[in-house]
Amino acid sequence: MQSESRLKSAPRLPEKEALILDLLAAAGEAFGLELVEASDGRLKRGTVYVTLGRLVEKGYLSTVQEEPRTGSIGLPRRLYRLTPLGSRAREAWKDLTLKLAWEGAS
């Protein structure tokens, strides 16, 4: 009960944001649609970029525009990478949930 209320007052990382951070930690860098494919249906094409945009604004991700190639006329794609702050936030979130789960169980 006590740990539950503590969990509510702790800073939170929404599930989708945590999932994206996990996927990027595993892949190193990825395009948005690659994250959708890697998520087994947990991320949707229509909403993944909204979450990615939010993570970029929070400073958890950095984005690099692909180099334009000769003859290409499409928009340049964007690669997403974890920033050091994003890595720390991911680790801190994992530690926090593990600790609270442990306290809840004991």
């Binding site: 395009f31 948005g32 649609l33 949707k44 094409r45 229509g46 909403t47 970029y49 909204v50 990615l52 945009g53 970029v56 604004e57 984005t63 692909e66 334009p68 190639r69 003859g71 290409s72 006329i73 499409g74 928009l75 340049p76 794609r77 964007r78």
Partner: protein, 330 residues
């Protein structure tokens, strides 16, 4: 190599991204999405697969736009519609009456459903709550019509900016509800009902009304490519139904304003409103049947009644006398 060569698909969406949202939404969300969609489209070799990529990409784009651009547009609409005190009062009055009308229409719709589906007695109420989004698809346009009618009763004026903002917001909400929320809730209702009534039975397959906007479009393109034209037409009808029903919120609000301005007697106004809304639903029903059978274009079947109401109401408002009507007599 991941960039597109030789052609530039989804150009309209890029045009829309550059005009219909803020710089932040465009640069952080919509342009990265479009770049990936263009790449995905160009990667497909078969024509039907490119068609599917185009349709699902378009649906993903609008979903992203609605998720952030829509919220932003909503904020701007509220600021625009609620500028002056009189506009705020008009919008508030409309919201109150629309809320009441939607509740009444929902209650009526749910009770009709209970009478016509006796099996629903054996299903827990929590599961039946999943029918609410589908109920709102009927209750919201009806609620907009009667809400606007009651909010503007007998004042004989045009459509206030606040009211237009409320109706546009309702249309936006209706589009999200019809395109994504109601299909998901419908399928969950079907699965849980089967589970409650026949434990252990396999879950029912998803029907046309259980597919979201993007899935409907992609499935229609795939079936058309396979030569299954009747099935494709049925899916296209469902696809067009979602934006058409959303647009009906604006058309019916305009209709209510026109009735309020042109018709003096309250009971005549309400009778005409019932007639209009019944005609719209009857035309949709007939049009849907004809379009399913391939005798009418899905777009004409679903958008026709909305355009008719819109143009009729516009004409009625424009040609109304300048003076307000006499005080209520009924």
């Amino acid at each position: 190599m991941s960039q597109v060569k030789g052609e530039l698909p989804l150009g309209f969406l890029r045009w829309a991204a550059e005009r219909l949202c803020s710089k932040r939404t465009r640069e952080l969300v919509l342009l990265p999405l479009l770049a990936d969609l263009q790449f995905e489209h160009a990667r497909e070799r078969r024509a039907w697969a490119r068609g599917v990529a185009r349709v699902t990409g378009t649906a993903a784009f609008w979903q992203a736009w609605l998720t952030c651009g829509g919220v932003e547009a909503g904020r701007r609409l509220i600021a625009w519609g609620g500028g002056a005190p009189e506009e705020r009062r008009a919008a508030g009055r409309l919201l109150a009456w629309v809320g009441l009308s939607v509740c009444a229409a929902s209650a009526l719709s749910v009770s009709t459903w209970f009478w016509t589906a006796p099996w629903s007695a054996g299903v827990p109420l929590g599961i039946l709550a999943l029918a609410l989004p589908a109920t709102l698809l009927v209750a919201l346009p009806v609620g907009m019509l009667f809400g606007a009618l009651l909010a503007g009763a007998g004042r004989g004026r045009g459509l206030e900016r606040g009211e237009l903002a409320v109706s546009l917001l309702a249309a936006l909400g209706m589009f999200v509800l019809a395109s994504w929320v109601a299909p998901t809730a419908n399928q969950a209702l079907r699965e849980r009902t089967v589970e409650a009534l026949f434990p252990g039975a396999p879950p029912p397959a998803r029907g046309d009304r259980e597919l979201t906007l993007g899935e409907l479009g992609a499935e229609a393109v795939r079936r058309r490519a396979l030569g299954r034209l009747e099935e494709a037409a049925r899916l296209e009808v469902e696809w067009h139904k979602k934006p058409a029903m959303a647009a009906s919120c604006v058309a019916l609000t305009l209709c209510a304003t026109a009735l309020g301005r042109r018709v003096r007697r309250a009971w005549t106004r309400h009778l005409l409103a019932v007639l209009v809304v019944s005609s719209v639903f009857a035309l949709w029903s007939v049009g849907e049947r004809e379009a399913d059978a391939g005798r009418l274009l899905p777009m004409v079947a679903l958008w026709g009644p909305v355009v008719l109401v819109f143009l009729g109401s516009w004409w009625a408002l424009k040609s109304a006398p300048e003076r307000p009507p006499a005080p209520e007599t009924a």
